[in-house]
Symmetry: C2
């Protein structure tokens, strides 16, 4: 049942298409005459606490379309993780505003917040319907074949590595690019997305699904450099040693943690600098460069997969449809049912909330430093129809006149 | 006169459109029946020394078009700066291969190499015609209104800041983005290119044209943060103190220099980390993040200004036309003659070689931390016809029920 007012909010890290899901919710909700109001909470659950709502029924469709095509949470976001007291305050506000259904667009932390909220609502006998709309560039939600936001971020990372591979071919040396991803290596693995020729980089890919060893890392680089005269390396910010300790903490003076207890990995170039310093120290390679792709991966204006755009809109709209047709809480999931086709389902919040999916073994090369054709088959359709390619001159060599 | 074989090479840092200029040279040269061969030197002048040539006459037009749309020097590049001995070796090779005209696509270091080469050729009475084709994301060539490569890099930086501005609005705090540019601040200034609303970031822009003071920097950030509750900052990697010492050297343990004596500024996150550490130490702002845009600025696949693409093709083609119609060495320059229209001219190598253009005072706000409308008028047409925009929700607030 979809009755009374609905509330929509966005949580966690922004993505390039998170506003498509918001627009999907709003436009679909307008089709339902039982919906008496469409509110948006600013800055996720924190905006509910402060009663910071806007009246999305008053948005024009034209402006909604412009916002849909704009990266990052238009409603603002939050890293707050509600506890019982927080949830009780939320009920009070939702009750006062007569909210019947709450759509929370977010990742596993956000879905966990929604799960707690749904439980507390049930305990308090408050008639609240909670629908989770998936998003995360980390691509780490259970059940989902992939999550909205990942394909566009993957397109960014693939495009970045296709470019730096050309740069590295032009001015050879070692290039290390650090990619977002704490536990799941999907986005780092997407660095292989635009490889075309056999010697295209990234030549080495370090994922958080495998234990990182500095010794092996340096040996790997020397081996690739000896073979190709250059080496492009993709590294997940979440790489860790056998104890699970993130490599970046070996350097960082102060460890910053968020409300979910996660160590802050992004927003610093420390890991790239640590790795390039080690390479410079251990090899005689003169040109060693490191970049950290940082927040551009999830926010860059104009780098969007059209598949992602479409699906992000759809999970928002389907969330409203499920709320109307099914009398239960849940999380909208994307399920691959063809090559390439997907089906949207409503799964239990418990199956998604707070859980993390990582890359399966068949996606990771036995060497531990590359992806498999299984992963490439998985990734390619997600990059969309307008993924550019990098090409080479094919002209033959001119015979030397002086030398030889 | 354009007679005999021509040779084309690419030098310095790659750009997103440097291959358009290469393709412009090759396709235009094919129109001239007096041209008996079209060679490409691999890795700039260093490939001439090693007689590492490919026969570009054997490239299909279809593949040339694919390569033209691919970022970074397809012929490879070099940082070599030829001295007299180097030049003498080059003559020997050019003579052996009967090269009549040498087109060197590059920035001010490359044009300086060409100037030396042209002088040595004249001294040695060797009939070599030297034509410089401009490119540099730094936009720092004299005479030129702007240089091929800059508009696409500017589009990247503008798109990046438009995105991180949205991200920073969603999750407020301080964000510092480091942009390439040693002496000229054009690319850092381009961070303002996609600002739309009055409170859009970047709120502060630090250019190498102005002396950097850490105290003022911290005061500026506190002021902006007090006003907007957040602060997005664009910083040129070339910022320096009153003595001209780059700020990054205050931290870096080892200073790496290239063959031109330039201190290595890119390929490390050190400056961003230095600045964000200072902000964290001096303020109580909890969320402080820094990114270094690095090599993505000049190589990212798929971020190209269509104006840049067109002009880069044109400077290559015009170079060949000038070589055919004018009996002198020179550098092809882009001159703005309308809003928006340009004219291509052949200027003296001496006027370009080794010289650096910086931003004019009327492009920099008197505050020293922003750009002026003069700069925005200059920049906007360069970003091209397909520059996306970032939009906001316009819905009104819902009246609070509980609070107040």
């Amino acid at each position: 049942m979809l009755q009374g007012k609905i509330l929509v909010a966005q949580g966690g890290g922004p993505t390039a298409v998170i506003n498509q899901s918001l627009v999907g919710v709003v436009l679909e909700a307008r089709q339902h005459s039982t919906v008496t109001g469409i509110y948006g909470a600013m800055h996720g659950v924190s905006g509910i606490l402060s009663e910071d709502f806007i009246d999305l029924a008053k948005e024009t469709e034209a402006n909604l379309e412009l916002v849909g095509a704009t990266p990052c949470s238009a409603l603002g976001s939050t890293r707050d993780k509600p506890d019982l007291e927080y949830c009780q305050k939320i009920f009070k506000v939702l009750q006062a505003h007569e909210i019947g259904t709450f759509f929370y667009i977010g990742g596993n932390d956000s879905s966990d917040a929604l799960r707690i909220l749904a439980e507390e609502a049930a305990n308090a006998d408050y008639p609240l319907r909670c629908i989770h709309i998936p998003k995360t560039i980390d691509n780490d939600l259970m059940i989902n074949d992939h999550t909205p936001g990942f394909p566009s971020a993957a397109k960014f990372v693939a495009s970045a590595f296709a470019g730096v591979n050309q740069d590295n071919k032009a001015l050879p040396g070692v290039y290390v690019g650090i990619v977002m991803g704490r536990h799941a290596g999907f986005l780092t693995a997407a660095s292989a997305g635009a490889r075309r020729y056999e010697d295209d980089g990234p030549h080495l890919i370090y994922l958080p699904e495998r234990v990182f060893s500095m010794d092996s890392f340096l040996e790997d680089i020397k081996r690739v450099n000896a073979r190709f005269g250059r080496c492009v390396v993709a590294v997940s910010e979440g790489i860790h040693d056998a104890d699970g300790t993130p490599i970046v903490t070996k350097l960082a003076k102060e460890i910053e943690k968020d409300a979910h207890g996660n160590i802050q990995l992004s927003g610093t170039g420390a890991l790239a600098d640590l790795l390039t310093d080690a390479i410079k120290k251990d090899t005689d390679i003169s040109r060693v460069r490191g970049d950290t792709f940082g927040y551009l991966q999830r926010s860059f204006l104009g780098c969007v997969s059209d598949v992602d755009q479409r699906e992000a809109r759809e999970v928002g709209a389907r969330g409203v449809q499920f709320a109307a047709s099914e009398d239960r809480d849940g999380s909208v999931t994307i399920n691959r049912v063809g090559d390439y086709a997907v089906e949207y389902r409503l799964d239990e919040l418990d199956a998604i909330a707070g859980k993390t999916k990582i890359m399966s073994d068949d996606m990771i090369d036995p060497s531990g430093v590359d992806v498999t054709p299984v992963f490439m088959d998985y990734l390619k359709p997600l990059l969309g129809s307008n993924m550019p390619g990098a090409y080479r001159l094919e002209a033959p060599k001119v015979a030397k006149v002086l030398a030889g």
